[in-house]
C-alpha cells in the first residue's frame, strides 16, 4: 500500500528550520530558548505520529522531488515501520533530552548554540531514517558526523572534548567516505538510488561481481558509525560531550544509524555467507570485547559507553544472522536498549551534576542521598543486565535463543558460548553500576553534597524507566509495533508473539548462567581489576593518536620537504619535466626529412653567432660581477638587433635597439641599489647539476628550432594573407606595422597594457618598499660611494639640451612614417623616452621633473584610454573593435598625407610606452633620493651662467 504524504519533508525540515531559532532566542532567556527548541521537535513528532495509524495498517508513505535526476540524487522520502520506529526514537527521546539539557547545562554554557547544534543533528538524523534515496541518505549521514563533531566539541575548552570530536569525525568520516563508494556501486547494480527500488533487486545485487565491494564499503560506513570493533574506540572518547549529547547521540540515536542502515538494506544485502561472517562475527566480537572493557571502566559514562558498544554489537550480530526471527529480535532490542540506555546516561549525568564526579571509585552509598535517581538507575540497569520482568530480559532471552541456531563455520557452540560470555560481563557491569555507585556506605568525601535534582531533570529518565517496566511486564503492548517494524526490515509480514516467559529452554539456562556468573565477577572485581591493569590492554586512543600524529608529521614533512621555497630547485624540476615531456612527445611522433636546404655560412652571421655565443659564455663565467653581466647582456641584445636588420626586419631591429637602450639604462639605475657582486651560494655539485640541466634544456630548444627551421610549414601559412592585404586592407605598406596595429592590433593593445601595468607595479612596489623596512634600509645605507665628482657635467647638460628637440623630431618622424616604413608608436615612444631620459641623466631627475607638467600615471592611462577609444570608435561605423578606417588628406603647403585611424591607436601606444618608461624611471629616482641624493637647484653642478649672475649681483 502506497500513499503520498506532503508532511514527510516537513518532518525532516522542521528541526533544520528550528535550528535557526535557539541561537537567537537565547537572548530572551534560557526557558524561552528551551521552548523554542521543544516546539519544532514536538511539532515534527506530532506530524510523525499522525502517520502512525497508517503505518501500523501497513501503509507506506512517499514523497518525492527531483533534485539532480541526472545523477540519481533526488529528495525522495518514505516512511514505513522502520522509519517510524527510528524517527519516533529520535524525536521522542529528543524531547526528553532537550528538557533534561535545560537543567543540565550551567549558566556559563552557551545554551543557544547547544540547542542549535542539537536540532541540526536531529534534522540530519530524521533525514537518514526517512530518506528514500541512498545518495540523499549519504548527505544526512555526513551531516550527523558534522553536527556531532560540534556537539562533542561543545566544551571546547577541554582537550578531551576537542580530541574526542576530531576522533569521532575522523572515524565516522572515513566510514562515510567509504560508504559513498559503496552506495554508488549499489545504485549502479540496482539501476536506481531509490531505496524502495533497490529493495526490489535482491537477486541482481547478490549475483553481481560488485556485491562484495559494495557490501564491504557500506559496512565500513555502518561499523564506524555504530562503533563496531575495531572502530569502537571513538565512542568512549566522544563521551567528553555534555551528558545530554552522550545520551542522545551516543546511545539512543546516532550510533544506531549504522544499525538502521544495515536493517534498511537487510533484505538485499543479508542472507549470504559474506554477510553472515562479516556482520555477525563483527557484532559478536564487539559485544564480547566491549562488555569486558566496560566492567573495568571507572568513569560512569565510560562504562555506559562501552556497554553501548557491546549492545550495538549484539544488535549487529542479530542482523548478521540473516534470519527473519533474529531481525525481529534486533528490532525489539533496539527499542529496549534505547529506553534503558538513554535513561542510564541521564542518571549518570545526574550523579555527575550533583556529586561533581563520575568516578565510580569516588562514589557509593548514593541510595540514601538520591533515592529517586537510585530507583530509576536500578530499574534501568537491571534491564540492561537482563533481569526479569524488565524489557531487557525479554530481548536478551530471545537473542540468546537465536544464537543457538547460528553455526559458525559448522561449529554450533561457538556463538552461543561467546554470547553467554558477553552477557555475563554485561550482567557484571550492570550490577556494578548499581552496587558501586548507589550501594555501600554513605561517604563523606564527595566533591559536592549529592541530592536528587529537580523534577525537570529526572522526569525524562523516570518516564523511560516506566516504559522499561511497562514493556517488560506487558510486552504484548508493543508486539504489533515490533511486528510491523520487523516486517519493514525483512520485507515479509511478521507475526511473533512477545512474552516474558519462554519456558525452560537453552536460553533460560544461558541467562541464569550469565546472571550468576556476572554476580560472581562483580564480587571478585577488585582482583580482576588488578589483573586487567597489569595486562595493560592496548589503549585505542594512543594508537589512534599515534597514527594521526604520524600522518600529520609525514604530511608536514612531505609538504615542507617538497615545497622548500628553493627557486632554483623549482626551476630545475620545471626544466627536467618540460624537456622530458617534449622528448617523449617527439619520440612518439614521426618526422620527415628536412624540406628546406640549409644556407651557406656567410661571414656576417658567423660573426654574430660567435658574438652571441661568446657573450653568453662570458656571462655565465662573469655573472657575479653585475655591471659586467649587464654589459654582456647588452652585447647579446645588440647582436640580436643586428640580426634583425640583417634579415630585413628593420622594425624589429629598431624596436630591439631602443628597448635595449631603455632597459639597460633602467637596469643600471637599479644596480645602484644592489651589491656589486652576486654572492656565491651554490655548491660545486649544485652548479654541475644546474649546468647539465641548462645544457640539456638549451640543447632541446636548439634542436627544436633547428628541426623547425629546416622544414617548411606543413600547411600553407596565413602570413601570405597579411602580405597580400597589408596595403589594400590595412592602409600601410609596412606589413610589420600593419600587423602590429591592425591585423593583430588587439595583441598590441594587450601588450601596451602589460607595459603600463608593469610601470604601475613598479611604482606601487617602490612606494611600499620605501614606506617599510626597505626605505629605512636605504636611508641607513646612504648614497653609494665612488661617484664622479661632477655629477651633472656642463658638457653633457648642454649636449642633451641640443639633442632634445632633435630627438623629439626623430620621434615624431618615426611615429608618422610607421605605417609605411619602419617605425610606429612603440618605437617612437621609446625614442622620446630616451630623449627625456637624457635630460634626467644630465641634470638629475628632480630638476627635470619639475620642468614638465604631465604626470606619468596620466600618460599611461591616457595611452590606454586613447587606444581603447580609437578601437571603440569603429563601433560607430558598425564594425568591430579596432577596425581601421583610412583616408588621404592634403595638408596645404606640405604634402598629401595618408591618415588612418590606426594612427590614433598608435598615439595610444606611444603614450603608454612613454609613460611606462618614465614612471619606472621616476620610481627608481625616488629610491635614489631616499638614499640622500640631493635635488638640484641648478641644471648643472658648475653653472657658468648662474655663477656669472651671482657675481654680478655680488
Amino acid at each position: 500500500m502506497e500513499a503520498t504524504s506532503d508532511m514527510l519533508p516537513l518532518i525532516v525540515a522542521l528541526p533544520f528550520l528550528g535550528a535557526l531559532l535557539p541561537g537567537i532566542v537565547i537572548r530572551a532567556g534560557r526557558d524561552t530558548c528551551t521552548w523554542f527548541t521543544l516546539f519544532p521537535t514536538a511539532l515534527a513528532l506530532l506530524m510523525l505520529l499522525l502517520h502512525a495509524p497508517g503505518v501500523m495498517a501497513g501503509e507506506v508513505y512517499h514523497w518525492r522531488l527531483d533534485w539532480l535526476p541526472g545523477l540519481g540524487l533526488d529528495a525522495n522520502f518514505f516512511l514505513d515501520g522502520l522509519g517510524l520506529l527510528f524517527a519516533g526514537l529520535i524525536l521522542g527521546i529528543g524531547l526528553l533530552i532537550i528538557l533534561y539539557a535545560r537543567f543540565y547545562l550551567s549558566k556559563n554554557d552557551p545554551m543557544g548554540q547547544f540547542f542549535t547544534y542539537l536540532l541540526l543533528f536531529q534534522g540530519a538524523m530524521v533525514g537518514i531514517v526517512l530518506s528514500d534515496n541512498i545518495l540523499l541518505l549519504l548527505i544526512f549521514w555526513e551531516l550527523t558526523s558534522l553536527s556531532s563533531f560540534l556537539l562533542i566539541g561543545y566544551w571546547n575548552h577541554l582537550p578531551e572534548g576537542r580530541q574526542g570530536a576530531r576522533m569521532a569525525l575522523a572515524v565516522t568520516g572515513m566510514g562515510g567516505l567509504a560508504m559513498i563508494g559503496g552506495m554508488l556501486i549499489l545504485g549502479e547494480i540496482a539501476g536506481s538510488y531509490d531505496i524502495s527500488v533497490i529493495l526490489q533487486h535482491k537477486d541482481a545485487i547478490q549475483a553481481s561481481d560488485w556485491y562484495l565491494p559494495a557490501l564491504l564499503l557500506i559496512l565500513l560506513g555502518c561499523f564506524t558509525k555504530s562503533a563496531q570493533f575495531p572502530f569502537h574506540f571513538w565512542l568512549p572518547h566522544a563521551m567528553a560531550a555534555p551528558t545530554p549529547v552522550s545520551a542522545y547521540l551516543h546511545s539512543a540515536t546516532m550510533v544506531k544509524a549504522g544499525l538502521f542502515l544495515m536493517a534498511r538494506l537487510w533484505p538485499v544485502l543479508s542472507g549470504t555467507p559474506e554477510w553472515f561472517y562479516i556482520v555477525a562475527t563483527t557484532g559478536l566480537i564487539t559485544m564480547v570485547i566491549a562488555a569486558v572493557i566496560a566492567l573495568f571502566k571507572d568513569d560512569l559514562k565510560g562504562l555506559l559507553a562501552f556497554s553501548t558498544v557491546s549492545h550495538l554489537g549484539l544488535i549487529t550480530m542479530l542482523l548478521g544472522f540473516g534470519t527473519e526471527a533474529a531481525a525481529l529480535v534486533a528490532v525489539f532490542h533496539i527499542i529496549n536498549h534505547a529506553s534503558f540506555k538513554a535513561a542510564l546516561f541521564m542518571t549518570a549525568g545526574i550523579v555527575d551534576h550533583e556529586a561533581h564526579t563520575r568516578d565510580i571509585k569516588r562514589l557509593g552509598g548514593l541510595r540514601h542521598l538520591m533515592p529517586v535517581t537510585f530507583v530509576i538507575a536500578t530499574i534501568t540497569a537491571l534491564s540492561m543486565a537482563g533481569i526479569p520482568p524488565l524489557n531487557g530480559f525479554i530481548s536478551k532471552e530471545m537473542m540468546l535463543k537465536e544464537t543457538t541456531y547460528a553455526a559458525w563455520a559448522g561449529n554450533p557452540w561457538l556463538v552461543p558460548a561467546l554470547a553467554t560470555f558477553g552477557a555475563l560481563f554485561s550482567v557484571a557491569y550492570s550490577f556494578r553500576y548499581i552496587w558501586h555507585v548507589f550501594m555501600g556506605p554513605v561517604r563523606d568525601d564527595y566533591p559536592a553534597r549529592p541530592h536528587d535534582p529537580g523534577f525537570g531533570m529526572w522526569a525524562g529518565p523516570a518516564l523511560l524507566a516506566a516504559i522499561v517496566v511497562g514493556i517488560g511486564v506487558a510486552p504484548f503492548v508493543v508486539e504489533p509495533f515490533v511486528n510491523v517494524v520487523a516486517g519493514a526490515v525483512t520485507g515479509a509480514p511478521q507475526d511473533t508473539h512477545l512474552k516474558l516467559w519462554h519456558g525452560v529452554n537453552a536460553a533460560l539456562f544461558m541467562s541464569i548462567a550469565a546472571i550468576l556468573g556476572g554476580a560472581l565477577l562483580l564480587a571478585s572485581h577488585r582482583a580482576l581489576e588488578a589483573g586487567w591493569l597489569r595486562a595493560g590492554p592496548p589503549a585505542a586512543k594512543a594508537i589512534f593518536d599515534a597514527i594521526v600524529g604520524a600522518a600529520t608529521r609525514a604530511a608536514r614533512g612531505l609538504t615542507d620537504g617538497l615545497h622548500d621555497g628553493s627557486l632554483t630547485r623549482f626551476s630545475a624540476i620545471f626544466v627536467v619535466t618540460v624537456t622530458l615531456a617534449g622528448a617523449i612527445a617527439w619520440s612518439t611522433g614521426e618526422i620527415g626529412a628536412p624540406s628546406r636546404a640549409t644556407l651557406p655560412i656567410a661571414i656576417v652571421p658567423l660573426i654574430a653567432t660567435v658574438l652571441l655565443v661568446g657573450a653568453t659564455l662570458c656571462l655565465v663565467a662573469f655573472h657575479r660581477n653585475r655591471l659586467l653581466a649587464l654589459v654582456l647582456i647588452g652585447v647579446v641584445g645588440l647582436t640580436v638587433a643586428v640580426g634583425f636588420a640583417y634579415f630585413s626586419a628593420p622594425d624589429l631591429a629598431m624596436t630591439q635597439l631602443s628597448v635595449e637602450v631603455v632597459t639597460i639604462i633602467l637596469l643600471l639605475l637599479a644596480l645602484n641599489f644592489l651589491p656589486r657582486e652576486t654572492p656565491r651560494e651554490s655548491s660545486g655539485a649544485r652548479r654541475l647539476r644546474d649546468g647539465v640541466l641548462a645544457v640539456a634544456g638549451g640543447g632541446a630548444v636548439a634542436a627544436l628550432a633547428y628541426a623547425m627551421m629546416t622544414r617548411d610549414f606543413a600547411l600553407p601559412s596565413i602570413s601570405s594573407y597579411h602580405l597580400a592585404n597589408s596595403y589594400k586592407g590595412g592602409g600601410g605598406t609596412n606589413v610589420v606595422n600593419v600587423i602590429l596595429v591592425d591585423f593583430r592590433g588587439f595583441d598590441t593593445y594587450g601588450e601596451i597594457i602589460v607595459l603600463g601595468i608593469a610601470a604601475l607595479v613598479i611604482f606601487a612596489l617602490t612606494q611600499t618598499v620605501l614606506r617599510g623596512a626597505g626605505g629605512r634600509f636605504l636611508e641607513s645605507q646612504g648614497r653609494p660611494g665612488g661617484e664622479a665628482g661632477d655629477r651633472h657635467p656642463l658638457m653633457m647638460v648642454v649636449a642633451t639640451r641640443v639633442m632634445m628637440p632633435m630627438a623629439l623630431m626623430v620621434g615624431v618622424y618615426i611615429f608618422l612614417r610607421g605605417h609605411n616604413e619602419p617605425g610606429g608608436g612603440f618605437i617612437a615612444g621609446l625614442i622620446v623616452a630616451i630623449a627625456l631620459l637624457m635630460q634626467y641623466m644630465a641634470s638629475g631627475f628632480a630638476w627635470a621633473e619639475a620642468r614638465q607638467r604631465v604626470p606619468y600615471h596620466s600618460t599611461i592611462a591616457l595611452g590606454v584610454l586613447i587606444a581603447t577609444a580609437t578601437g571603440i570608435g569603429a563601433w560607430f561605423n558598425g564594425v568591430p573593435f579596432l577596425t581601421s578606417a583610412h583616408d588621404y588628406f592634403t595638408v596645404p603647403g606640405i604634402a598629401e598625407l595618408h591618415l588612418s585611424t590606426a594612427v590614433a591607436f598608435d598615439v595610444g601606444v606611444f603614450l603608454t610606452v612613454l609613460g611606462a618608461v618614465m614612471l619606472a624611471l621616476w620610481s627608481l629616482s625616488r629610491m635614489a633620493r631616499r638614499t640622500g641624493e640631493p635635488v638640484n637647484v641648478e641644471p648643472m653642478d658648475v653653472n657658468p651662467a648662474a655663477d656669472a649672475a651671482s657675481s654680478r649681483e655680488g
Binding site: 570530536a165 568520516g173 619535466t577 612518439t588 620527415g592 626586419a649 622544414r711 596595403y727 602589460v754 604601475l760
Partner: protein, 535 residues
C-alpha cells in the same frame, strides 16, 4: 553588430584607465567606480551567458579581419560560464577587499584588480592562441602587482618566485606557439583544429612537441604537479583577497587545457593521440594527493588554503583527464564549486589572520578572536565546502566525478584517491579549525592603560563571505539546471564543428599563394608588396 562579447575585456581596461587617470588620489571614488564596474561586468556576463545558453557560438572579429587572419573572440557556453563565474567572484572579493581595507594598503589596488580581470576574461574569450599568450601576460603582470600589494618581506620573496616561475612558463608558451605555428601555419584555434586534423604524418613529431609544450604551459598555470611549485607560497603570502581572486587563476589553466584538448588536439585526432590524457590523469591524481596531504601538513591557515587550491585543481583535472562528456560535466561543476569555495576559504583565513595579531594564521594557540562565533561558523562552512562534505556543492561535485569515471579502467584508482584524500582534508581542516577556534589561550590581560586594538570592520567582509556561501548553496540547490547547462556545454565541446564553422565561416578560408622567395630562408617581415601601392 553586437559588441557585447568584447565588453568584458574593454570595460575593465577602461575602468582601470580611468582609475589611474583621474582618481588615483581618491580611494573613495576608486572604490565606487571599481565596485560599480565589477557589478556591470556581472550584468554583462549574465547577458552573455543567456546568449550562449541558446547554443549559438558568438564570434567577434577584431579589426574586421576574418579568421584565421585576424584575432577573434569566441563566446560559447564554456567561455560564457567562465566569464560569469569570474565576474561573480570578482564582486564578492572586491567587497571584501574594500571592507577589510586591503585596497588602502598599497597603491593602485583597484587598477591592478581590473587589469587582472581584463586578463582573465580575455583569456576565457579569445579564440586565438597568441592572443591567449597576450592575456596570460596581462594577468601575470597584474597578478604580480597584486601579490606584492601591501609589501612585506615574505610577500616580496613569494612574489619574485611567482613572477620568475611564470616567466619561465611564458617563455615556454612562446616556444610552444612557435612550434605550432611552424607546423600548422596558423594561430587561430579553430583554424588550427582543422589543420591539425589534416597534418601529414611526417610532421607529427613537431606537432606533438608543440602540443605537449603548450599543455605544460597550461599545467603551470593550473598548478599541476610537478609544475605547481609557484603556487603554495604565493597564495599563502599574497593578500587574502588577492589569493581569493586567484581561485579563478588556476582555472584559467584548466580551462585552456579543456579548450585546447577538445578543440584542437581532440580525442579523435590521430596525430596527437594518446599524449595528453594518459599523462594528465596520473599527474592530476598526484596533484590531488599532494594538495590534500598539504592540507593536513600545513602549519598555517594560509598554506592550508593554498594546498586546498592545489587539491581542488587535482580533483577537477582527475575528472577532466578522461575527456568524455560526462567527466567534463563533472569537472566543470567542480570547477565552479572549487572556485567559490577556494575564495571563501581565503577570505575566512584572512578574517582570522587579521584578528590574531602576532599569531597570524599559524596553527598555535592564541587568545580567542573577536567575533569568533561568526568567523568560526564561516570557517565551518568553508571547510565543509573545501573537503567536499555534504550538504554543500563540493559533495555533489565529487559524486558527479565519481559517477562519471565509472566504467573507466582506472575507476578504482580514481575513487580511492578522491575518497582517501577527502579524509586527509577532513582531518587537516578539523585539526586546524579546532586549533584556531577551540584551543584558545586565556585572553591577554591588558594592563589597563593600553586599549585593545580595535578589530578591523567585519560588516562588508561578512557580506562578501555570505555572498560566496550563498552562491555555493545556490549551486547545490539548483544543481539540476546547472548540470543541464554543463551537459550542453560538454556537448558543444565534444562536437566542435559548430565552433569551427562559426569562426571560420561556412567555407574554408582562402589563403593567397605565398609570394616568391619564401622557402629560401628569406625574411617575410617587411617585404611589403610595394607594387600594390598604386592600385
Amino acid at each position: 553588430m553586437s559588441h557585447w562579447i568584447i565588453a568584458p575585456v574593454l570595460l575593465p581596461a577602461i575602468i582601470a584607465g580611468l582609475l589611474v587617470l583621474s582618481m588615483r588620489h581618491h580611494l573613495g571614488l576608486q572604490r565606487v567606480f571599481s565596485l560599480g564596474g565589477a557589478g556591470v561586468l556581472v550584468a554583462i556576463a549574465m547577458g552573455l551567458a543567456a546568449q550562449a545558453a541558446s547554443g549559438a557560438v558568438g564570434v567577434y572579429e577584431l579589426g574586421g579581419w576574418p579568421a584565421p587572419f585576424g584575432i577573434v573572440l569566441v563566446l560559447d557556453r564554456l567561455s560564457a560560464l567562465m566569464v560569469l563565474l569570474t565576474t561573480v567572484l570578482a564582486v564578492a572579493v572586491l567587497l571584501y577587499a574594500i571592507g577589510a581595507n586591503w585596497d588602502a594598503r598599497g597603491a593602485h589596488f583597484h587598477a591592478l584588480y581590473h587589469f587582472q580581470l581584463m586578463g582573465i576574461l580575455g583569456a576565457f574569450l579569445t579564440g586565438d592562441l597568441f592572443n591567449l599568450f597576450v592575456f596570460f601576460e596581462v594577468l601575470l603582470i597584474a597578478s604580480y602587482g597584486l601579490v606584492i600589494h601591501a609589501g612585506g618581506a615574505r610577500r616580496m620573496r613569494a612574489g619574485v618566485q611567482y613572477v620568475v616561475y611564470n616567466l619561465l612558463g611564458s617563455t615556454l608558451f612562446l616556444f610552444a606557439l612557435g612550434t605550432l605555428y611552424g607546423v600548422t601555419g596558423t594561430l587561430n584555434m579553430a583554424d588550427m583544429a582543422e589543420r591539425v586534423a589534416a597534418i601529414p604524418t611526417e610532421d607529427t613529431a613537431l606537432l606533438r612537441v608543440g602540443a605537449v609544450l603548450l599543455l605544460s604551459v597550461f599545467a603551470v598555470k593550473a598548478a599541476i604537479l610537478p609544475l605547481h611549485f609557484w603556487l603554495p607560497e604565493t597564495y599563502a603570502a599574497a593578500p587574502a583577497p588577492v589569493a581569493a581572486l586567484f581561485a579563478i587563476m588556476t582555472k584559467v589553466g584548466a580551462y585552456a587545457i579543456l579548450r585546447v584538448d577538445t578543440l584542437i588536439f581532440g580525442p579523435d585526432v590521430t596525430a596527437t593521440a594518446g599524449i595528453l590524457s594518459g599523462l594528465l590523469l596520473f599527474t592530476a591524481l598526484i596533484t590531488l594527493a599532494v594538495g590534500m596531504i598539504g592540507i593536513l601538513g600545513a602549519d598555517g591557515l594560509g598554506r592550508l588554503a593554498a594546498f586546498a587550491t592545489v587539491g581542488s585543481v587535482g580533483t577537477l583535472l582527475a575528472g577532466l583527464a578522461l575527456f568524455t562528456p560526462e567527466t567534463t560535466v563533472a569537472a566543470l561543476y567542480y570547477t565552479i564549486h572549487s572556485t567559490l569555495a577556494g575564495a571563501l576559504l581565503f577570505l575566512v583565513v584572512d578574517m582570522v589572520r587579521e584578528r590574531r595579531g602576532a599569531a597570524g594564521d599559524a596553527l598555535v594557540s592564541a587568545p580567542p578572536i573577536a567575533a569568533g562565533g561568526m568567523i568560526a561558523a564561516l570557517w565551518f562552512g568553508a571547510a565543509i565546502a573545501t573537503a567536499g562534505m555534504p550538504p554543500l556543492s563540493g559533495f555533489v561535485g565529487k559524486l558527479l566525478i565519481l559517477d562519471a569515471v565509472r566504467g573507466d579502467d582506472w575507476m578504482w584508482l580514481i575513487w580511492t584517491v578522491v575518497l582517501a584524500s577527502s579524509l586527509l582534508a577532513i582531518l587537516g581542516l578539523a585539526q586546524a579549525g579546532s586549533q584556531i577556534f577551540w584551543k584558545t589561550t586565556e585572553p591577554a590581560q591588558v594592563a589597563g592603560d593600553a586599549p585593545a586594538e580595535a578589530p578591523p570592520p567585519l560588516a562588508l567582509p561578512a557580506v562578501a563571505a555570505f555572498t560566496l556561501i550563498g552562491a555555493i548553496v545556490g549551486l547545490t540547490v539548483f544543481a539540476a539546471p546547472v548540470v543541464a547547462y554543463l551537459e550542453a556545454t560538454a556537448g558543444q565541446l565534444y562536437d566542435p564543428s559548430d565552433y569551427i564553422a562559426a569562426v571560420l565561416g561556412p567555407e574554408a578560408p582562402e589563403i593567397p599563394p605565398a609570394p616568391d622567395g619564401t622557402g629560401e630562408g628569406a625574411p617575410t617581415a617587411s617585404a611589403a608588396p610595394q607594387d600594390e601601392g598604386g592600385a
